[in-house]
Amino acid sequence: MDPLTVAGIGFALMFALIALHVPIGIAMGFVGVGGFAFIVGWQPALSLLASEPAATLTNLNLAVIPLFMLMGNLAAAAGLANDVYNIAHAFIGHRKGGLATATVLGSGGFGAVCGSGVATTATFGRVALPEMLERGYAPSLASGAIAAGGTLGIIVPPSTIMVLYAILTEQFVVDLFTAALIPALLAVLLYALAVRATVTFNRSAAAEIAPLSWRDRLAALRKGWGVVLLSVVVLGGIYAGIFTVNEAAAVGVVVSFVFLLARRGLDVKELTAILVSASTATAMIYVMVFGATIFSYFMTITDAPAVIVDAITAMDLPPLGVIVMFLLLYIVLGAFFDEVAAMIITIPFVIPVVQHLGFDLVWWGIINVIVIEIGMITPPIGINVMVLNAMRRDIALPQIYKGIFPFFIADMIRLAILVAFPALTLWLPRLLQ
């Protein structure tokens, strides 16, 4: 059987398993083992079930994911998210739609100490949502700002998604963290404009709030040193070359742990909850990587990725046309899949093509992260929307999606800008190299 047919059957089986609600990592693992066995033999294929997870478990680059998870959860529990939000609130809360803008800025700021989009969403669902609703903001705008703001958690470094991408494509994660800075700023700016547009078209979406005194503003600012310290230590340490990424993540864990102890005392029950919740989220990612790495053996042995690269090269399409095609592919896949899963499943095919066309894999990583951000807030599986919906049953899904729409437009504009001008992404990492 020719390799493409084998790979195609493998893919079809994997989709069938996934449709049957089998977790994506497990589905990839099954097809990987089965496919490898079909070509090479059962004994070597089954051995992959030990050797690949073992290699993944001892991969120290991947170890920053649990550390960033733990850091984000500790920082949230220590109230650092409240601090950032309060600062933004104190300075711009009184403007039209100011609390929504403060939510966006706060999420971006908290994103600098939290690597996860869902954690950022859940945190601001607690920190900012009740206040906006109390103060008469439309639930659509309030929840839209939080769901969209939450996506900043993965584009503002540190970011677990970037770590995952860097490992699977063998890029240096610091390059991705550096490349993300301008796109992240652009995201915050465009989201602020999206809030502006919402309140311009729908004046009743946001209520008027009295400005705070300068005394209160300075008080908020003074309380914000925690986040500043944590992000300077972690990101500053990485960018300035003081720490390795692993060390920075470990330092971040310890600093946020100290903050939690200093501010809340030692609450064993709370600490237990934090540790367990970070641990299960980590386990979920690792199981997915187990499956993805086993699956990639099968793909390698079929030679299908190389065949596809050759086919696309032979078609002689304009490189940018191929990129747009991939983005459309992700939008289609995003209707069925979690976008992170879509990225992982397609890496064996897409990365060789992108590389062959002469695009930079760091740039493509940032584009991937933005596609994932968009996926987090679009139906049918917008994970951030699900999180908010689970927290506040009284806000219906359609209402949240309505509130998200302006932010979705902002994301599309950002994606178009960054695809059209790769220099915006690549300028900083090249400067710092």
Partner: protein, 315 residues
């Protein structure tokens, strides 16, 4: 998968990237030689850059399990499995990759090497060329290592530098040496010129002191059952281009590459390269002797092994 009626394709796993010189020159040349020597009965397909397993430590297991048929192994990542090859890691023993590799094959054939060798079909044994002191601060004498964080590429070298008062740092693989150097996790490392170049260590160091502090032993192993499943003619064909023949090809290519890379850095002039004088050599030699003595005393066959290895190099 098979292209001809009787053609067998061996999956050769190499963690080295496809463009790296070992993969592109040495391993693929062996693959071609196998094809010729077996009259096309056996072909070799190289999976480079870790496409069959990214982790260096995992490569041996891949061959054992039959995921790969042949693999390039760095035994240093599987400490304790092939203790015999440590003879090539000892400071001041191996002068060049070619001499070290040929001598390693010779002592293997004499049955002097301890380790799990019978479990695999050993295609070839190599050593790199000697590793030098590559560091950020200037290091002249063993005493300059006092209190400094250093990465050693082998347990024996690690013991040597601990003797000299350095703090041995583990858990750093070749590709992460440069990052660890630039973040101050370590101040220096022991590497040969190829590694200094390909791992971009050159950008992170200012000094290289060329004292021969031992090599990195390397191996090519094949799944034993897979080898024995081939026809006798094919087995003979593979044997003809492996062992000493492969060691010679490897050693020549490696040493030539080292010379060219070193010449590049000399021309660039950024790194201060020190060729040690007699007194410096003697000081480093004396400082590493206790560890060599410990190693020799640790198992009964070792003095004979070292003597045989030295004799084979001397030839």
């Amino acid at each position: 998968i098979a292209t001809g009626a009787t053609a067998e394709t061996l999956r050769f796993s190499s963690i080295e990237p496809p463009v790296a010189f070992l993969t592109s020159k040495v391993f693929s040349a062996w693959g071609k030689a196998v094809e010729d020597a077996t009259a096309g009965e056996v072909k070799v397909k190289i999976f480079a850059g870790g496409t069959l397993g990214r982790s260096p430590a995992q490569q041996l297991k891949l061959v054992e399990d039959g995921v790969a048929d042949v693999a390039f192994i760095v035994p240093g990542y599987n400490p304790g499995v092939f203790p015999g090859v440590i003879v090539g890691e000892l400071p001041f023993v191996v002068p060049s990759a070619k001499a070290g590799s040929l001598a390693m094959w010779s002592v293997y054939e004499q049955g002097l090497l301890e380790g799990d060798f019978d479990k695999y079909k050993i295609i070839a044994l190599f050593t790199s060329s000697p590793q030098y002191v590559a560091s950020k601060p200037e290091i002249r004498m063993p005493s300059d290592l006092q209190g400094r964080n250093f990465r050693a590429s082998s347990p024996s070298l690690l013991a040597v530098i601990e003797d000299m008062g350095a703090v041995a740092v583990g858990g750093i693989t070749g590709p992460t040496v440069a990052e660890s150097l630039s973040r101050g996790v370590i101040e220096g490392s022991f590497n040969e010129w190829n590694a200094i170049k390909s791992y971009r260590i050159a950008d992170a160091i200012d000094h290289v002191l060329e004292v021969p502090m031992g090599t990195s032993p390397l191996m090519i192993v094949m799944n034993k059952a897979r080898f024995e499943g081939l026809s006798e003619a094919a087995q003979a064909g593979i044997d003809a281009v492996s062992g000493a023949t492969f060691a010679t090809a490897f050693g020549d290519a490696f040493d030539a590459q080292i010379a060219a890379t070193r010449a590049d850095y000399v021309a660039q002039g950024r790194i201060a390269i020190t060729v040690p004088d007699r007194a410096t050599l003697d000081a480093w030699k004396a400082a590493s002797q206790p560890v060599i003595d410990d190693w020799l005393a640790a198992a009964p066959g070792r003095p004979a092994l070292l003597a045989a290895y030295r004799a084979a190099i001397g030839e």
